[in-house]
Point group: C2
Chain length 325, copies 2
């Protein structure tokens, strides 16, 4: 990437051909089955623009990745939702039923899911796809797919009903570079090509992604470290009598018992210089979502957690009654 | 930029605040009057999406920057055009009249223009804006504005009828980074913010653009060198009895006399390892468009030009009669 900085005066490859060839080899598909974009956010926008006319219906889990909803609203489509189960898991049968009931043209599934961390295995996802209406496209957002063993993910066969989206932002550590890709039928990819920005991906990002694909040991190390971090967070929460959601991502949701307590916890930790997030919609709004950091960052969280929680618990009732900020 | 590569694991600033503050200081406007995007291409797409409903009319010069037309077609709007004058100049009065006649919602003007290189000065542009229908937004694409003295460009006052677009791809030499910006009313910028990608610009590109703003001497040097290059090309063409269009950009159009001859010239130079372009639509389709390169690249072109032209002239009639490729 530092070398590529020196070629910044030249436009990058609008076809991202070298990168797409490497990705095609990785996934055992053709170059024409791959489109590269400025992150999954970019690709989600293309999918919504291409496949949802104003008023068309799409189904998704209520409170799942908000940028998908942003595009749906932005292009005037109609969102129908199914909530998470109370334990934070995905309700795929209900989602498929909802797609039938509403005549959905797109079903959006983040798997592993953001912000819950929930994961549906290969069989469950295959069953979900088969259960959908025949003309319903599946956007399978696998932003966190690198944290799961390939054998647990949907097989790499191109299915014209499915667009799978991957990113270099998470396990590959290139969030600031804005680069991701999708796998789909040649027809779907051609449709994306008809509307995407010609020079959609920064030249340095293309170089970085290509180089990163060769660093499997580094990525495996990140994945292993993230797994240790999730265990650390589960243990930390348990030490204070708090439940966590099982996660297959690089973050863990910790149950604070109420929305007010979760909001107060975000605030208390921010006062210690620690920025965590929280899901906005029930039933997950009583959780905080903590990203796995470095071991040093996790220690910092562990050191601050008890005092912050004590403050939240001491003032919890007051916060509960306070007007929504 | 090389330093910023080391922070690629972090998302860039979705608000590009530091860069927008620097741009606001440069243009004497507010931060809320500036939106940053992944090049002008990105910003043109936002403008079309936001302000042209399917069927709405926009006017532009026939054969001007094709990516604007790409967005217009992509979003289902309707393009009405006025040709270049036969001498390659812009016909602004005719464009304003066409806007009135067609009820245009957007008038697109690239100034300096791509691919002609033509330029309309401050007074002419101000007159054009005033001559348009009251509810017609002007997209003033100043991608090549850095090659013109600021005094010749429209003054930096925010006009709610106008969105001015600038890029780091040309005089700043950051085409591969994908970063540009626009100046507009707070209301227009807020509209762009409602639909743009949240993380629309690569972190390294933001750092590069910010640093580049501090390198005015470098940019002035590029602009001076480009002016020398334009003179070189005009002299080269004159040596072979060919006319050129006056250009205020980093390229020069050379008149080959016919579309077939211009196409043959592109091919002949490509055989020498020199890639030039040519406009696709009349009356400019008889020109080749040659970008100003380094002095060494210009010498390479000069060395190859005569023989290539001789081949074109020798086979010109045959090419003229050949079926269109």
């Amino acid at each position: 990437m530092r070398e590529a900085v020196g070629q910044s005066m030249w436009y990058g490859d609008p076809e991202a051909l070298e990168l797409r060839e490497a990705l095609a080899a990785l996934h055992g598909c053709g170059v024409r089955n791959i489109s590269v974009g400025a992150g999954i956010d970019d690709l989600l926008g293309l999918a919504v623009r291409a496949y949802l006319a104003p008023g068309d219906v799409t189904v998704a889990t209520l409170g799942s990745y908000p940028t998908y909803v942003y595009h749906v609203i932005g292009y005037g489509a109609s969102l129908e939702t199914v909530p998470y189960a109370d334990d934070g898991s995905l309700q795929l049968d209900a989602l498929a039923e909802r797609a039938h009931a509403t005549g959905a043209r797109i079903a959006y599934l983040a798997n592993p899911d953001n912000p819950s961390g929930a994961f549906a295995g290969r069989e469950a996802v295959a069953h979900f796809i088969d259960a959908l209406p025949e003309d319903c496209l599946v956007l399978l957002d696998e932003a966190y797919g690198d944290f799961v063993a390939p054998a647990d993910l949907l097989a790499d066969t191109i299915d014209p009903r499915v667009v799978r989206m991957r990113t270099f932002s998470k396990a590959f550590g290139l969030a600031g570079a804005r680069i991701g890709y999708c796998l789909g039928s040649a027809e779907t990819i051609e449709t994306f090509n008809k509307i995407r920005l010609q020079f959609n991906v920064n030249r340095i990002a293309q170089s970085g992604a290509l180089a990163a694909l060769g660093e499997r040991d580094f990525v495996a190390g990140v994945v292993a470290e993230v797994a240790r971090g999730r265990d650390d967070y589960a243990a930390l929460a348990a030490r204070f009598g708090l439940r966590t959601l099982a996660s297959r991502t690089n973050f863990v949701c910790i149950d604070l018992g109420s929305r007010a307590a979760a909001e107060a916890m975000v605030e208390q930790l921010l006062r210690c210089g620690i920025f965590i997030r929280k899901p906005g919609l029930p039933p997950l709004d009583r959780y905080v979502r903590v990203t796995v950091g470095t071991p040093a960052q996790r220690q910092e969280l562990a050191a601050a957690f008890g005092a912050a929680l004590e403050t939240v618990r001491a003032t919890g009732t007051v916060l509960e009654a306070a007007p929504k900020r």
